[in-house]
Structure formats: C-alpha cells, structure tokens
Subunit: 157 residues, 2 copies
DNA sequence: AAGAACATAGTTATTTAATAACTTGTTCAC
DNA sequence: GTGAACAAGTTATTAAATAACTATGTTCTT
C-alpha cells in the first residue's frame, strides 16, 4: 500500500503538533469541545498515512484503549466531519485529517492507488466549473465530492 | 425519498426497451455475454428511480427469484461497471444504469437529497479542469469520482 | 462427439462499514 | 448544587461487500 514515506507525516512531528494546536484553538473559538477522547483519535488520524478506515483507526486506538468500540471512533469522526477537522474519502470509505480546516471551501482529493497517499487540493476552478454546470440544470449544490484516482508523482518512476 | 415522478422512467417504458436493446448490441459487439441473469438485473436497475443500493436491488430480484443472494447482484453489478453499462455512486453506495454507455468519458452526478433523483451529466469542462489541476501536482488520473449533492430543479419549489 | 479450458452462477460463510438504542458519566449555566 | 445538555460507554444490530468452494454451462480444440 505504501511507497517511500519520505514526504509523509511522522508521528509526533512538528507539523502535527502545529495542526493539533490549531485544531484546539479552532474548537475553542467555535464553541466546540476538543475532549481528551477526541484529541487522542485526532492524533491517530494525523499520524495515518494517506487516509485511514474507521476500523483501522479503531485498531490503533485499542492499543492504548483496549475497550474502545466502533461508536467511539465514529462519534469522534462525525464530530470532526461536522466541524471541518476531517474529511471522508467516499470512494474508499476512509477518513483524513484536514490540514486547513479554518477555510470552508470544498476540497478535492488526488488518491494514489499505488502508495495510498491522499493529497488534498483546493481548486476554485473545479468547484466553479461544477457549480456552473449545475446551474445549467437548475441544480442547487450543497456539497461536492471530487476524488481522482491514479498514480502520484513519486510512484510514477 | 421521492418527489413527483413525472419525469422518471416507468417500468417497461419505450425508453427502457431502447436502452436494453442498445445494451444487448453493445455486449455482442464487445464480446461480452448479456446473460438472462444479467438482463433481469439490468432491467431492475433501469426501472429504479434515481440510483439503487445493491440490497434493495436484491430485494426486487427476490420477488421473481426467491433464492437470489448478494453475490448474484454483486456479480452482475461488477460486470456492468466493468463494461460500462452502469456506474456506482460512491457517496451513497448505490448504482445507476448508464444511459449512454457507448461513450467512455467520465461522468458526473447531480444527486437530489430531497427526492433521490440522480442525474448523470458529462461535462468535458469539469473533467479537463480536474485534469489540469492534477497535472500541476504531476498526478496521473485514471478514474474520477465527481458527485454533487443538493436540490434538483423540481424540488426547489 | 469428447474433453479440456474457461466463464457463469449457486451456495455458505465471513468480513467490513456504520448505526441504533440504551446507560452512564461530565460539564456548564443558572 | 441541581438539572439540562452534551459526551462517552455498552450491547446489539443493520448494511455493504467479498471469500471460497461447488456446480453448471459455453466455447474451443482435436
């Protein structure tokens, strides 16, 4: 599932610490509680390469919290999705921590089928093109799911 | 789940007959077998409003084929997806018969969260915009999943 | 026509993904 | 401090998809 991990996040990296702090702040500002349970699960989500399935996340959680059960992770995930701290990758039923949750634009994913990496991009162009198409059909868009599968740059060599 | 069905396909309509015939022809031309089992399931897929889940499809199939089981429908669905006779809607885990399977372009869906209607559109613009974005990241796209949720024209009033 | 090779379908069981429903514990405002 | 609201624990179930094995059918070859 994974090629070289040179550019992937490592557990407890500085970048993760930074995102974690921003997540805490963001929750405080918006009146949402970043509880210990949520923090623990959010850390695991940040440590995951690419995206991670709910049950894989549960397995990781069980290593330090042996009595964790599906609702434990699904509740946290639902919370993250709701406040914008994470996204669901619909085509693989997996989840990914959002790295710039402070902006509410729809996102797109580039999913490498070789190494499993999931890159989150934000193209206003894609969003607007879809929006324009929908308008032609008099369709009012609420949410967008845009996911491309293929091979990432690092796996092409 | 459903509003007015005025524009929806009705069982055994002329349009369905036409698509069915085209599907048969298409399979012959491409050396794929459109077996009785596949035909039965494809008809049910055509009759479904919007998109339909595999197990809802199974329930319908059971009405005339009481011993049908999950692999029965999943095998047919896999075949349809493989040859291009149907699409999977990833964000709802449902399936939809393709109305223009003779062209291989990626498609986009406009999914009405109010009536459940799923409209298949083909915008070269969206495809190309995503393609261009991917290129900037040196990502080679194989397949695209583009789904918009919202409210369709008929349900806005 | 017989038989090998392959595709299709039947059958049983299991895995994976997600949620329902009820109970217990925390937090926070008044 | 009490109670409303939120969060988490617990048990069970539903929903989605596939694995693995058996049986049947189709096609191709000789």
């Amino acid at each position: 599932m994974h090629g070289t991990k040179a550019l992937q996040l490592k557990p407890h990296s500085d970048e993760q610490q930074e995102i974690l702090q921003k997540a805490k702040q963001y929750c405080e500002q918006t009146g949402n509680r970043f509880t210990p349970s949520r923090e623990k699960i959010y850390k695991l989500l940040l440590q995951a390469d690419g995206s991670i399935g709910a049950y894989d996340l549960l397995d990781k959680l069980k290593q330090t919290d042996s009595k964790a059960k599906p609702p434990t992770v699904y509740r946290a995930l639902d919370f993250f999705l709701h406040v914008g701290l994470a996204h669901k990758v619909e085509s693989t039923n997996t989840f990914k921590a959002c790295r710039h949750f402070d902006c509410a634009h729809p996102v797109q994913f580039l999913i490498c089928d070789y190494c499993g990496d999931v890159r989150e991009i934000q193209s206003k162009g894609i969003r607007d093109t879809l929006e324009a198409q929908a308008k032609q059909h008099e369709f009012k868009i609420k949410t967008q799911t845009i996911e491309a599968h293929g091979i990432c740059q690092r796996c092409q060599s």
